[in-house]
């Protein structure tokens, strides 16, 4: 018989209770159990950064964690950034204005990486932004407009 565990996980300020198999990845829990498909799954081995979420406020790969490990913890996904589509988070708004995405696959992971980065470093240099983006792969943009968007966001969030 398959072993399951009760979990209680707060995601974007809302408490969810489910029964999960211990091998269920947090990324799959968010997408399949909760329908929060903003968290994208790229490489599933911690290289591409598409599945980045905040775990108790710190960025982490949700494909390198089991849902059962998140019980009692607070997860923030890209869906938690804005209340509605007319009031985007300044970081999202900056990506919109600076054309910081093309296909958009990497975008949620990049946003969830840049949120704690800008909190820690509110006035970053271009080099620091590029270094901070090094754990997130984008195959469309060549990164230039992403860097522009993060710069713009830093301005807006001052």
């Amino acid at each position: 018989m398959t072993q399951t565990f009760p979990v209680s996980i707060k995601v974007n300020e809302k408490e969810y209770k489910r029964e999960v198999e211990p091998r269920l990845l947090l990324s799959d829990f968010l997408r399949h159990e909760l329908g929060l498909t903003g968290t994208h799954v790229g490489c599933e081995h911690g290289v591409c950064g598409a599945c980045t979420i905040l775990f108790d406020g710190d960025s982490a790969r949700s494909c390198l964690m089991f849902a059962v490990q998140a019980s009692g913890h607070h997860i923030t996904t890209v869906e938690g950034l804005a209340n509605d589509r007319d009031n985007l988070h300044p970081l999202q708004q900056s990506f919109w204005e600076a054309h910081g995405l093309q296909c958009g696959y990497c975008t949620p992971g990049i946003l969830m990486t840049m949120i704690p980065f800008l909190k820690q470093n509110p006035d970053p240099t271009e080099d620091e932004i590029r270094h901070a983006l090094s754990g997130n792969l984008c195959r469309c943009t060549g990164y230039q407009h992403i860097v522009d968007a993060v710069k713009l966001a830093a301005e807006k969030m001052k």
Binding site: L25, E44, S59, C63, S134
Partner: protein, 292 residues
């Protein structure tokens, strides 16, 4: 790309974890930060029957000073090492090298103990443990023992731990006075596994002569490679450019044994080791001089 089923345990004390290890000796696999184990499980390269998750064992997350040493619990996150003020003061080599470990998203989860036990020859922490003369505390349900870092790494992804043992604590002696440090590596992209890397320590005496040196390399063999002969070349001498050059040649030609991979030939790894050794020794000697 999904892990095979396993039996899961999440003890909230070390005692419980050790009992579960005892009952599952050989089959029990420890889950620490999971930043190497979970990818391997996703690929099903690793399929543990029993997974023992230490993330709820809060007693293993400490970092403190005691009797001239830094004591670090095996579950301390790499991100905490990076910003710890005791580590920055007492073992600044570790502070300098930690940002080279993958990316912040990985360091937020990855643990010092996990990386050490994983014993990846391309990883930074095993190299740093050798460079800093760490002692590693292993426990099973009935005993504990201390293992010197120099005896701990036994080969590719292999350590001296017994199947029922858990690495619980790391002890780092404070770096000696007048000791300069340097950590350098070359990676295709920031945060990727480095093609080559070196940790260097240089202690100078009151005459500016080398009273001790250490050169340890990553991705240079079956485990972290301690180039003892190259360090010996520097012993008791003024670190002239000529002497530094001969130590770099010796380490890169005679002591390391890189394999090459898809990103690099072994020959290029030796070239990088030569260049990095010279730069790192100069920086370490400079810093040691500044401390006098």
């Amino acid at each position: 790309m999904k892990p095979a089923p396993f039996e899961y345990h999440a003890p909230d004390s070390l005692e419980q974890a050790l009992q579960i290890m005892k009952l599952n000796a050989g089959e029990g696999k420890i889950l620490a930060g999971g930043q190497s184990l979970v990818p391997a499980m996703n690929f099903r390269v690793v399929q543990p029957g029993v997974l023992i998750d230490l993330n709820r064992v809060s007693e293993l997350s400490f970092i403190h000073e005691e009797d001239g040493t830094i004591r670090i619990g095996a579950m301390a996150r790499e991100r905490h090492l990076e910003f710890d003020s005791s580590i920055a003061k007492r073992t600044p080599l570790l502070t300098e090298a930690t940002p080279f470990i993958a990316h912040p998203q990985i360091r937020n989860r990855g643990t010092i103990g996990g990386s050490i036990v994983n014993a990846d020859p391309a990883a930074e922490l095993p190299v740093l443990m050798l460079a800093l003369n760490a002692r590693l505390k292993a426990r099973n349900a009935s005993n504990e023992r201390w293992i010197d870092a120099s005896d701990f790494f036994t080969g590719m992804f292999s350590t001296a731990l017994e199947p029922d043992e858990i690495l619980v604590e790391i002890e780092l002696p404070f770096m000696p006075a007048h000791t300069g440090w340097s950590f350098m590596e070359v990676a295709p992209r920031a945060g990727d596994y480095a093609l080559m890397g070196v940790a260097a320590l240089v202690t100078l005496d009151e005459n500016g002569k080398c009273a001790g040196a250490k050169l340890v390399y990553l991705n240079a063999g079956e485990g972290p490679v301690d180039a003892k002969e190259a360090a010996q070349i520097l012993q008791g001498e003024i670190l002239s450019d000529e002497l530094i050059k001969s130590a770099a040649v010796h380490a890169s030609e005679k002591e390391i044994n890189p394999f090459g991979n898809v990103h690099t030939s072994a020959e290029f790894q030796r070239h990088l080791a030569n260049v990095l050794t010279k730069k790192a020794l100069k920086q370490a000697a400079q810093r040691a001089g500044d401390l006098q």
